[in-house]
C-alpha cells in the first residue's frame, strides 16, 4: 500500500511536467503577449498624446511604436529570445526553487499575487464542500428511504433545477433578486469596506459570511445535485443488498441496519469523489468570482489569460495542477480507508 502511494507521488513529476510544458508552449504561440500589449499601450498613449498637443514624438504619422532595439530588449527581458524548451527549462528550475517569476502586469512576484487570492478561493471552496456534504448526505438518505414519496419527488424537482441551471446563472439570478431588488445582501466583494474597523473577530467573520451568502448559494446549487443523487442511488442499492437483509434477520431494527450497514457502504462512492472536489473547489469558478467580484484564484487566472500575463497563467496552473494531482491520490487514500476490499499494489 505504502509502496503504491510512493509510486503515485513520484508519478506526479512527469505528469506535472507534461501539463506545464503543454501550456507553456501554447503561451508562446498564441497571438498577443506582454510585448504586443506594451506596443499597443505605447501606440495608444501616442495617439492620445498626438491628438491633444500635436507634438510628434519619434517617428511618423499613425502614432509611435517601439523600435527594433527596444523590442529585442523586451524579448530578452521576458526570455522570448531563447528557444521554447530552453526558456521552459529556465522557468521550471525557478519553480522548483519556489520562484514563480514576476507578473508582467502588476510587476510583483506571482507567488505573492497568488498567495493573496488563495485563502479567498479556499474559503469558498471548503465552505461549499462542507455545505454540499451537509445537504447532500442527509437529503440523499431521506430520498432513498422515502423513495417515490411526495418528499422524494418534490426534492428531485429542486435538485434537477439546481443541476440544469449553470451555477453562474444561479449567481446572476440571486444577485438580481436578493442584492439588487431586495437589497438583503451586498452586491459582491469578499468583505465590506469597513472590515478593518470591525471590533471583534466575530463581527469580521459575520461580515465575511454576509458577503459570502449569495456566492455560496450559487456554488452549492451547482454541486449538490450530483452528490445528492450519488448518495441516494448508492443507498438504494445497498438497502436492497443481501447483507442488510442479513442484519435484519439477526434481529436488528431496520433503521439501525441502514445506519450501521447500508450507510457505510454508500459512502464509498462519495469518498471517491472527495479528492477530485478539492482541486475544483480551491481553484474556484471564475464565472462566479467575476459575477460577485470576488478576488479569487479563478478570476485571477481568467484575467491573466485575457491580459496575456503569462507568469501568472503558469503560476495558477502550477497550483491547480498540483492540487488536482494530489487530490487524485487523496481520493485513492479515502477509498482505501472506507473500503477494505480495495488493495493498491
Amino acid at each position: 500500500m505504502t509502496q503504491y502511494f510512493i509510486r503515485r507521488l513520484l508519478l506526479i513529476v512527469p505528469t506535472f511536467i507534461g501539463i506545464t510544458i503543454l501550456v507553456f508552449v501554447i503561451t508562446r504561440f498564441v497571438p498577443g503577449g506582454p510585448i504586443e500589449r506594451m506596443i499597443a499601450e505605447v501606440q495608444q498613449a501616442a495617439m492620445q498624446g498626438g491628438a491633444g498637443t500635436m507634438q510628434s514624438t519619434t517617428s511618423g504619422i499613425g502614432g509611435a511604436t517601439l523600435d527594433e532595439d527596444q523590442i529585442r530588449q523586451l524579448e530578452q527581458y521576458y526570455g522570448f529570445d531563447k528557444p521554447v524548451l530552453v526558456s521552459y527549462w529556465d522557468w521550471l528550475i525557478k519553480v522548483v526553487q519556489f520562484d514563480l517569476g514576476v507578473s508582467t502586469r502588476y510587476s510583483e512576484p506571482v507567488w505573492d499575487t497568488i498567495r493573496e487570492r488563495l485563502p479567498v478561493s479556499a474559503f469558498y471552496g471548503i465552505t461549499t464542500m462542507l455545505i454540499t456534504y451537509f445537504i447532500s448526505i442527509p437529503l440523499g438518505y431521506l430520498k432513498a428511504i422515502r423513495h417515490n414519496s411526495h418528499f422524494d419527488h418534490a426534492s428531485s424537482v429542486v435538485v434537477f433545477i439546481g443541476y440544469a441551471i449553470p451555477s453562474y446563472v444561479v449567481g446572476i439570478i440571486l444577485l438580481v433578486v436578493f442584492a439588487s431588488n431586495l437589497e438583503w445582501f451586498p452586491m459582491g466583494g469578499f468583505y465590506g469596506d469597513d472590515f478593518d474597523d470591525l471590533e471583534s473577530k466575530w463581527e469580521q467573520a459575520a461580515d465575511v459570511f454576509y458577503h459570502a451568502a449569495l456566492p455560496l448559494m450559487a456554488y452549492v446549487a451547482g454541486s449538490f445535485a450530483v452528490m445528492t443523487f450519488m448518495m441516494k442511488n448508492a443507498l438504494m442499492d445497498n438497502l436492497a443488498a443481501d447483507y442488510v437483509r442479513t442484519a435484519i434477520a439477526k434481529g436488528m431494527p431496520f433503521r439501525e441496519a441502514i445506519t450501521r450497514h447500508a450507510m457505510r457502504n454508500s459512502l464509498i462512492p462519495i469518498a471517491t469523489h472527495f479528492g477530485n472536489n478539492i482541486s475544483v473547489i480551491i481553484g474556484g469558478s471564475f464565472l462566479i468570482e467575476k459575477i460577485f467580484n470576488i478576488d479569487g484564484l479563478g478570476l485571477l487566472g481568467y484575467e491573466s489569460i485575457v491580459e496575456r500575463d503569462y507568469p501568472i497563467v503558469m503560476g495558477v496552473l502550477v497550483i491547480s495542477a498540483i492540487l488536482q494531482l494530489v487530490g487524485n491520490i487523496l481520493s485513492d487514500i479515502c477509498v482505501a480507508v472506507v473500503d477494505p476490499r480495495v488493495q493498491f499494489r
Binding site: 442479513t246 439477526k250 450497514h261 476490499r341
Partner: protein, 328 residues
Amino acid sequence: MTEALLEVKHLATEFITEQGVARALDDISFHINAGETLGIVGESGCGKSVTSLSIMRLLPRPAGSIVSGEVLLQGQDLTRLAPEEMHHIRGNRIAMIFQEPMTALNPVYRVERQLGETLVLHNPQMSKDEIRAASIRMLKRVGIPAPERRMQEYPHQLSGGMRQRVMIAIALLCEPEILIADEPTTALDVTIQAQILQLLKDLQQETGMAIIFITHDLGVIAEVCDRVLVMYSGRIIEQAEIHTLFDTPLHPYTRGLMNAIPRLDKPAKQVLSTIPGMVPSLFDTPPGCRFQNRCEYAQPQCRATTPPLEGDSDQHQVRCFRFRELMH
C-alpha cells in the same frame, strides 16, 4: 400429539406490483416439531422463499404483505407481533441463512463485528470479552480453522464455503429454536455442499433445533430432511415423510419431478423426462388446481374447484382429486 414448535395456519401472502396483485402464497399450512428437519421443495417462484420470509416477517415492503393466516411459534402468533417484539424473535429464536454467502455478509466489516452484532442485539449484558470468546467458540464449532485469525478478516478474504460457515455461525450464536436455511448450498460447489449439509446435521444433533430447509434440489432434500413439503405455484400440493415421498409420490407434479431426476441405475444417454408446459402466472391463476394445464390426468372437476389437501399431516397429504386412482 405434542404441540408443534412452529405451526403455520392458512397463511396467504400477496405482492402488490405494477402489473397487479400477485398471490404468492395461498392457504399454506404446515407444522414443524423440535429437532425435526422440514424440507420445502419446488421450482423457482413457487413460494418457497416467500414462505420463509413470511415467517420471519422479512417480506420486501411495502409491496409484500401477509393478508391472512397465522404463524404460531409455540402458540404465539408472529403475524400479530409489534415490529419491536419481532426483533427479539429474529436472530434469537428463529435464525436464517441465505443462498448467497458472497453477498450476505457486509463487505466492509470484519467477521468479528458481524458475529458479535447478533450477541450485542440479543444479550446486551454480555461483555466484549465474553462476546469475543463466544464468537470464537462458535466459529470453531462450525469448522473454521484458526478462528482467532478469521475473526480479523473481511468477508472477501474467505472462500464461499467459509463464508457460509460464518453465516451459520452468526445464525446459531443465540441458539435459535428454528433455523431457516434458504437454499444454503445452491451457490456452493458439490464437495462444499456436502460438508455444509453434514455440518447442519451435526449441529442439529447437538442443539436439538428444528431446521426448515428450502431448496429446489431433491437430492439435498433426500439427504437431510425428515419431512417434505412440495410447493407449486404458491400452494402446498404434497406433504409427506421423506421415505414415503420418494417411495410413493402421489401428486402428478411430484411424480413428474421424480421422473425428471437422472438416475445412475438407468441406461445412460436417455432423454431426460420433463414436465411439459409452464407454471401459471401468479397474476392470472386459473380456478381449480394450479397444475391442471400441465397434468395428464386433469378432469373438468380439476378446472372448476381447488382440490383440498387431504390426509394426515404427519404422514402423507396431497392436494389432488384423483390421487387414489393414481396410487396404483
